[in-house]
């Protein structure tokens, strides 16, 4: 199954960020992601963000101590995309990430 994620530019107008044109898209297929953005510089920056490992929570409890751990997960994990969206949107790339339901 392919999940197509749309990346949209956010531009600043009167100190407010407004939604702009489509910057590109990402296709998530099983454990791989293909990024297609026309602007080569933006493509490179997005690839850098996408290449950073994404971890999800795991943990255990021992004698009254709760330990929260982060374990790396790939694009086939259900929480991967939302974590990636958060990371892309928090970067300085000014992108909105639209993930289909």
């Amino acid at each position: 199954m392919v999940t197509r994620v749309i990346l949209r530019h956010l531009r600043e107008e009167d100190d407010v960020l407004v939604l702009g044109d489509i910057a590109g898209e990402m296709d998530v297929v099983d454990d791989s992601i293909e990024v297609a953005i026309d602007d080569p510089e933006l493509q490179q920056r997005v690839l850098e963000v996408v290449s950073e490992p994404i971890s999800v929570r795991a943990g255990f409890e021992m004698d009254g101590v709760i330990v929260t751990r982060l374990e790396p997960r790939g694009p086939d994990h259900p929480e991967y995309l939302s974590a990636l969206r958060e990371r892309l949107e928090q970067s300085d790339l000014r992108l909105q990430v639209e993930i289909p339901d």
């Binding site: 791989s32 297609a36 999800v56 929570r57 795991a58 021992m62 929260t68 751990r69």
Partner: protein
């Protein structure tokens, strides 16, 4: 971290403060490691205290073991055939033949990728000459036999009480310096210590393997025509004579064993702790990636320093750990409320488990994580929490409201 916690209602934070909940930024991997050690769940290796008598007897029994001898014989026969194919280069290349072919097969077209972090590049399968194909088959056989011998050694080493690493007996030449690095030794002192352990575990076999290897390399150097290559090999030989730990050895032939020791650095830095394989696995499973802790006894929440971003946010880790504290302290402060609330929490959790979905996968671990994830996401994206798991939204909200009420009293 403070910036992230400002998302909590000030009365809730006041309650946390009054109840003595403390937030700290630490190296949580080191903290978890210490905790496991203090509770006796992680012990150091015994490879640095090897009974050399037992190690010697173990080596002798292996040398006279008929199964080991049969494997050695088969290996010698395959090595001999490989030598027929490739001549004197073989003792030096070890895995080289197969490694080279495999590297060729995996090679991708040059140039930067234009798409994807995992884009599949089309590549033609390489043409493998028949001689190389035979060499690959030989290597495959050698690996199988080496694995078989490795299993035999594992079983015997356990019987003899000699701590050697499991499943590491493979065909090919390797120096003890390389082995030390594979086991995580970094500093000269650590490598020196590892070399001592190699000596204790292997005894005379170590010297025998090195002597034979040196002889082979000297013989190869003597027959070399190219003066440049000969000179380079001569320099390498001088270096090996001065530093025997750099001499590559035929481990399978000489039963060269690796002490079961790993130089493990909690948090990836600092002084190494010596662990055996079993304890290393436990450390990897429990310590690596630790990002937050909550100690219910001391009411202390810890967040890993690496989790704190430049903007002061911890991507929810601080909120999550504080939530554990609120959960524990509301239970202690208002047991009557907690009893009713807890029943509703259990019910919501059971429903989420049945559904197989909540705000995160981790929320489904147990009711404690369920509510902690709920409280955290209540502050991160309340609308999303309400959509994904309305029952969790409600129990998280009620817990926070109760803590807030207690905070103003």
């Amino acid at each position: 971290m403070k910036k992230e916690l400002r998302g909590f209602d000030s009365d809730v934070l006041s309650f946390a403060d009054r109840r003595g909940i403390r937030m700290q930024v630490t190296n949580t991997e080191t903290e978890v490691f210490k905790m496991l050690q203090d509770r006796g769940n992680l012990t150091t290796t015994t490879a640095d205290r090897v009974d050399t008598g037992a190690a010697r007897r173990f080596g002798e029994s292996l040398a006279t073991d008929p199964r080991a001898a049969a494997i050695d014989q088969k290996i010698a026969s395959l090595e001999s055939r490989r030598k027929e194919l490739f001549g004197d280069q073989q003792p030096l290349v070890g895995f080289g033949i197969m490694g080279g072919v495999m590297a060729g097969a995996a090679m991708k077209p040059s140039g930067p990728p234009t798409k994807g972090i995992d884009a599949k590049q089309p590549s033609e399968p390489p043409q493998v000459p028949p001689k190389m194909q035979e060499a690959m088959a030989l290597n495959g056989e050698l690996m199988k036999l080496s694995e078989e011998k490795g299993k035999l050694i594992d079983a015997r080493s356990r019987e003899a009480g000699v701590p050697v690493r499991s499943g590491t007996m493979f065909a090919g030449q390797m120096s003890s310096d390389m082995m030390a690095e594979f086991q995580g030794a970094k500093t000269p002192a650590e490598k020196q210590q590892f070399e001592k352990m190699m000596g204790a575990v292997n005894g005379d076999r170590l010297q025998a393997a090195r002597r034979e290897s040196l002889r082979n390399i000297e013989s190869l150097a003597a027959r070399m025509d190219n003066p440049k290559m000969k000179g380079m090999l001569g320099k390498q030989l001088d270096d090996m004579r001065a530093h025997p730990e750099k001499i590559p050895m035929d481990r399978v032939k000489h039963n060269i064993l690796i002490p079961d020791v790993h130089y493990y650095r909690p948090g990836g830095k600092g002084e190494a702790v010596l662990l055996d394989s079993e304890n290393l696995e436990r450390a990897n499973k429990h310590v690596d990636g630790a990002s937050g802790l909550y100690f219910s006894g001391t009411k202390t929440a810890q967040v890993d320093a690496a989790a704190v971003g430049r903007d002061g946010h911890t991507h929810g880790t601080a909120s999550h750990e504080l939530s554990h504290g609120l959960d524990y302290e509301v239970a202690a402060a208002v047991p009557a409320f907690y009893k009713t609330w807890s029943a509703d929490l259990e019910k919501a959790y059971a429903q989420a488990k049945t559904r197989g979905a909540s705000i995160t996968e981790y929320a489904l671990t147990n009711p404690r994580e369920y509510v902690a994830e709920g409280v955290e996401h209540y502050h991160r994206d309340r609308a999303l929490l309400k959509t994904r798991d309305p029952a969790l939204h409600d129990v998280a909200e009620r817990l926070l409201q109760q803590a807030g009420k207690l905070g103003v009293q």
